[in-house]
């Protein structure tokens, strides 16, 4: 993104929290190149618009992103260069902290999901082992002519189940 793209931003296109994170990251990245006062004003207005339009179910994260955006907007409108740079750095640090927290909670959710998946696989493996055992027992007690066919079918089923269990047991 460049400063020339600011006029054409359509905030309504952004949906997920990640979309908003990426947009704010791009906008903050332009602060350094916005030196002329008209460019600074345009970027500041866009950052305020970001906060006006942003929306997410993750209220904590989106509110932190908005706060960082507005802090940067106000900093860009300062005439005092030293104050401006200091406040922009603070806004950027707030943004990084919000993203870090978001990453940590996303990674936590991923771990939770992986744990749940592992538990289900273990349960499936255990269930398959039981099934295999039962089928083997059944094939040993079949004595009729059809029993041979059934035993063969059971053998195939056992082999398929064993193959599936092997696959499930392989580490991801």
């Amino acid at each position: 993104m460049t400063l020339n793209d600011l006029d054409s931003i359509d905030f309504d296109e952004l949906e997920s929290t990640q979309d908003w994170v990426k947009m704010l990251n791009d906008l903050l990245g332009l602060a350094e190149s916005a030196q002329a006062s008209n460019k600074r004003e345009l970027l500041a207005d866009t950052l305020d618009e970001f906060a006006d339009h942003s929306s997410s179910d993750d209220l904590g994260t989106i509110t932190k992103l908005d706060a960082a955006a507005r802090k940067a907007a106000r900093a860009l409108r300062r005439d005092d260069i030293a104050a401006r740079i200091g406040e922009l750095q603070a806004a950027s640090a707030d943004f990084q902290a919000a993203v870090k927290e978001l990453d940590a909670s996303t990674s936590g959710l991923k771990k939770e999901a992986a744990k749940l998946r592992a538990e289900k696989v273990t349960a499936a493996v255990s269930s398959l082992t039981d099934t295999i055992g039962s089928l083997k027992n059944l094939s040993q007690v079949l004595e009729t002519a059809d029993g041979d066919k059934i035993a063969a079918a059971i053998k195939d089923a056992v082999q398929s189940a064993q193959k599936l269990r092997t696959l499930l047991e392989k580490p991801a």
């Binding site: 906060a51 209220l59 005439d79």
Partner: protein, 313 residues
């Protein structure tokens, strides 16, 4: 009266009308002095108003103090300029009152113009330095030379007019270039600061539509959901009340901002009106008639009204 006597009286009357008397320029000087006072009090009203606005967003109060200081400094330049306008007007009134013409008078008017230009931060160059001077400075240097070369008072004042108008333009341009952007930035930061304080409520309300639909469906299926829906509705009502408070603060900030902008525009207009009054003065000297400063006086009255408005907000 004999026919000869009547003719002599007629000739005398025509001659007297032709020579006429120079107008009293004191009303022009007085109105200019009143304008300077009004500009000074306007600046105080503006800085006070900005300081009040800054206090609406405590985390940014320090930054506003700096901004108010910068605005104060910019305004001090304007006060200096308008005091220069008053001093110039006073000097011109003295020149007209003295009723003299010639080199000395032309020099006095030229020097007064130079002094006025310097209060607007336009350094009139010596001819050798013309190359590094601004366009305005070069223009004024040439015009002042024309003024100083004139010998009749009415010509002196007429030649001073383009210089006076250029200086008035510079003042108006400076207001557009420096003061108005400064006020605009302050206003936008005030609104941004106010919105920041209500961001959590705003985001809650924005995200509530989907959640509200889910809770309503749940309440239709299960009566236990009704309580949860009621609680959610209360939370939303509280957030909406908070946002109403935010919007009132923003409306107030917007009204104050508009009044400040109006005041700065009125001050630029007042400078232009002063230049027009100067044109009328030059014409009055040429036509030997009374000076009309009604518009300039009216402008000062309007300025005072605007100052009251800014203070009231």
């Amino acid at each position: 009266m004999t026919k000869l006597g009547a003719l002599a009286l007629l000739v005398f009357s025509i001659l007297a009308a032709g020579c006429g008397t120079l107008p009293d320029a004191r009303p022009f000087a007085d109105a200019s002095a009143t304008l300077a006072v009004a500009v000074k009090s306007s600046g105080q009203a503006l800085t006070d108003s900005l300081r009040d606005a800054g206090s609406a967003t405590p985390p940014d109060e320090k930054a506003y103090e700096k901004l108010v200081d910068a605005f104060d400094a910019a305004w001090a330049n304007r006060v200096k300029a308008v005091q220069g306008v008053a001093a110039y007007s006073d000097a011109i009134a003295e020149v007209i009152s003295a009723g003299r013409e010639g080199e000395e008078t032309a020099k006095k008017v030229g020097d007064s113009l130079k002094a006025l230009a310097s209060t607007v931060n336009i350094a009139i160059p010596a001819s050798a330095a013309v190359g590094v001077a601004t366009d305005a400075a070069v223009f004024l240097a040439k015009q002042i030379a024309v003024v100083q070369a004139s010998r009749k008072l009415e010509d002196t004042l007429a030649q001073a007019q383009p210089a006076v108008e250029r200086i008035a333009d510079e003042l108006a341009h400076e207001a557009e270039k420096q003061l108005k952007p400064s006020l605009r930035s302050a206003y936008k930061n005030i609104v941004s600061g106010i919105k920041s304080q209500y961001e959590a409520d705003d985001n809650f309300v924005a995200a509530s539509a989907t959640r509200l639909l889910e809770l309503r469906q749940k309440a239709l299926r299960d009566p236990k959901g009704v309580e949860e829906l009621g609680e959610f509705d209360r939370m939303k009502a509280s957030a909406l009340a908070s946002l109403k408070e935010r919007d009132q603060k923003i409306d107030q900030a917007t009204s104050a901002y508009r009044a400040r902008q109006q005041l700065v525009t009125a001050l630029s207009d007042a400078t232009t009106t002063w230049a027009a009054a100067h044109r009328d003065l030059a014409a009055a000297v040429r036509e030997k008639r009374k000076v009309n400063v009604t518009e300039l006086q009216q402008t000062v009255v309007e300025l005072r009204e605007l100052v009251k408005k800014v203070r009231a907000l």
